[in-house]
């Protein structure tokens, strides 16, 4: 990074740290923060979509669909989410390979599960074993992101289902009295009004999602926890930057990062709540109206 970094062993404390904190592996460490932010950016909308589908499905009048919706919404009750994370990562991978196997090698006659092995034909491997390393990493990352989306979709489905029920019944009855169909009532009356009721739950969910991001480490992604452990471990004098075990300080930095992130989110979400309460027939909206008058 800097020119004076050519021989770190001769440096004073301050320039030594300047060099140390800007060397190659640290740049990877800083990039992994982007990995986490990217996870949040993808997971939040996808999970919201899953949640919406799940909540709408549980309201369906067609029984099997409503059962599936209910099953999805209640899936996260009672069972630790970490179990779901560990489960889906393997299950999704195997499901994809199995489907691909059925398409690519229809004439395969050996069983796929052989004792402790899961064997599909070479052409059905995802990604192909000849694929470069980065393909494997990207694939793993997206499996992890999809797993997060499924689990958080179930949480979001819970919140949205509650929000849909919180919309005053009279509103829906009025829509019916105007001769709207079920579908019209849903899209034109229910959905626009439900967000203010969903917001506290969704804000809460966002905070939880932020705090769940270190679990990426468990799913085999090289995230900030991975790098904090890697970089913090003690380095002997064979390395360019020898230092004792600094993992404590690295994790302290992560702690501060998360505290700052949740604090900023809190402030932003409070602002959004104020904005959305404007003109609503809720206690918050009423308070705003009185304050203005």
């Amino acid at each position: 990074m800097f020119e004076f970094c050519a021989d770190p062993s001769t440096l004073d404390t301050a320039p030594w740290f300047a060099c140390y904190l800007t060397n190659g592996v640290h740049m990877l460490f800083y990039q992994s923060f982007l990995t986490v932010l990217l996870l949040l950016a993808i997971t939040a909308p996808v999970a919201l979509a899953f949640g919406f589908i799940g909540a709408a499905a549980s309201r369906s009048h067609i029984l099997p669909i409503s059962w599936m919706g209910k099953l999805y919404t209640s899936m996260v009750r009672g069972v630790p989410d970490i179990a779901f994370f560990l489960f889906f990562v393997i299950a999704l991978d195997q499901a994809l390979e199995w489907v691909n196997h059925q398409i690519q090698c229809p004439n395969w006659d050996e069983p796929i599960r052989q004792g402790a092995n899961f064997v599909v034909c070479q052409a059905a491997k995802i990604p192909l074993s000849s694929a470069p390393q980065w393909v494997h990493e990207v694939y793993n990352y997206f499996i992890a992101v999809f797993t997060f989306s499924i689990v958080f979709g179930a949480f979001a489905a819970n919140v949205l289902f509650g929000a849909m029920r919180a919309v005053p019944r009279a509103q829906l009855e009025t829509a019916e009295a105007y001769g709207m169909t079920r579908r019209q009532t849903f899209w034109r009356i229910l959905v626009p009004q439900m967000w203010i009721y969903a917001l506290p739950g969704l804000s809460n969910l966002w905070m939880i999602l932020i705090k769940a991001t270190p679990l990426l480490f468990l799913l085999g992604v090289e995230d900030i926890v991975y790098w904090a452990r890697e970089l913090g471990g003690s380095r002997t004098s064979q390395y360019a930057y020898p230092h004792p075990d600094w993992r404590l300080w690295y994790f302290l930095a992560l702690l501060v990062f998360y505290l700052g992130f949740t604090r900023v989110s809190e402030v932003v979400l409070a602002r959004i709540t104020r904005r959305l309460s404007h003109g609503q027939a809720t206690a918050g909206g009423e308070a705003q109206r009185k304050a203005a008058a």
Binding site: G78, V79, I90, A116, L254, Y258, L259
Partner: protein, 274 residues
């Protein structure tokens, strides 16, 4: 090995009794159920103890956060903010490295005999869980303190109660009653959080781990996630039902003086990962 022999060999494996080697090769369903069930002992141990000790600390924190005095309010606010604002996973790592590094850092004085137990899961992780649940429950109790009906407090004043007597007779029971449904969720959630312990730095000594530790062991061995994880799910659903039953009974007792329709029901709303 018949199933009964398996139970004898592995039922207390997580505590270090019975067969030393974990099953390998062909792994039967019975072995998976027994060993994962054996791991549940740790989940229950962490959950029950952290909840029990955390309760008292949480009440203290709530009272401190509600206090007028700055010296009591500020530390409580900060404590709750730090533990609720950061991931439990990071807290575990941080605690582990702090406890492992501490004896090495203070080189001149050998205090490893003192810190060694803290670097092990049974005590170190328990303390982190205890502090964590105290912070979450403290916030719940604080919210309940704020929503105690004004009339109740005025009535207490009118009777001439003050200080600790007012707290013990009026504030505390009402706070508990109002907070109980939310606190039930917190309890369930704490039991779920115990599954993180052995994935977060604390080593499983001689492969003595919790339910999820064994489940992931089996999933790695058999490469088949469709058996061990549903078993874990089943155990946890049973545990959750037990927790809900116990807490509902307490809730009924807390609400026993109220007319039926004003009683708050314990409704499990899952939210939170920490």
């Amino acid at each position: 090995m018949s199933c009964w022999e398996t139970v004898q060999a592995y039922a207390f494996r997580s505590l270090g009794y019975g067969e030393r080697l974990l099953p390998r090769g062909e792994i039967s369903l019975c072995e998976q159920v027994t060993l994962i069930g054996s791991g549940m002992i740790w989940n229950i141990y962490f959950g029950v103890l952290a909840l029990f000790f955390g309760f008292f600390f949480a009440v203290t924190l709530a009272v401190a956060k509600n206090s007028q005095a700055k010296w009591a309010r500020k530390p409580a606010e900060w404590f709750i903010f730090v533990f609720r604002g950061s991931p439990l996973f990071i807290q575990f790592f941080l605690a582990y490295f702090a406890l492992v590094r501490l004896p090495e850092e203070i080189g001149t004085l050998d205090i490893s005999w003192l810190t060694d137990p803290f670097a092990k899961a049974w005590l170190g992780a328990l303390i982190v869980l205890f502090l964590n649940t105290a912070a979450y429950a403290g916030e719940i109790f604080y919210g309940a303190l704020r929503s105690i009906p004004k009339g109740d407090l005025e009535a207490a004043d009118a009777y001439g109660m003050s200080g600790f007597k007012r707290f013990r007779r009026i504030v505390y029971p009402t706070m508990l009653r109002l907070a109980w449904p939310a606190y039930t969720n917190e309890a369930i959630f704490l039991f779920h959080a115990t599954t993180l312990v052995y994935f977060s730095g604390f080593p499983a000594f001689r492969q003595q781990g919790d339910a999820l530790y064994y489940a992931s062991y089996f999933a790695d061995r058999t490469f088949n996630p469709f058996v061990p994880y549903p078993i874990v799910a089943m155990f946890f659903i049973i545990l959750t039902l037990i927790v809900i039953t116990v807490f509902s009974l307490i809730n009924r007792r807390l609400n026993r003086h109220l007319p039926a329709e004003r009683r708050a029901r314990v409704r499990y709303r899952p939210n939170l990962i920490r």
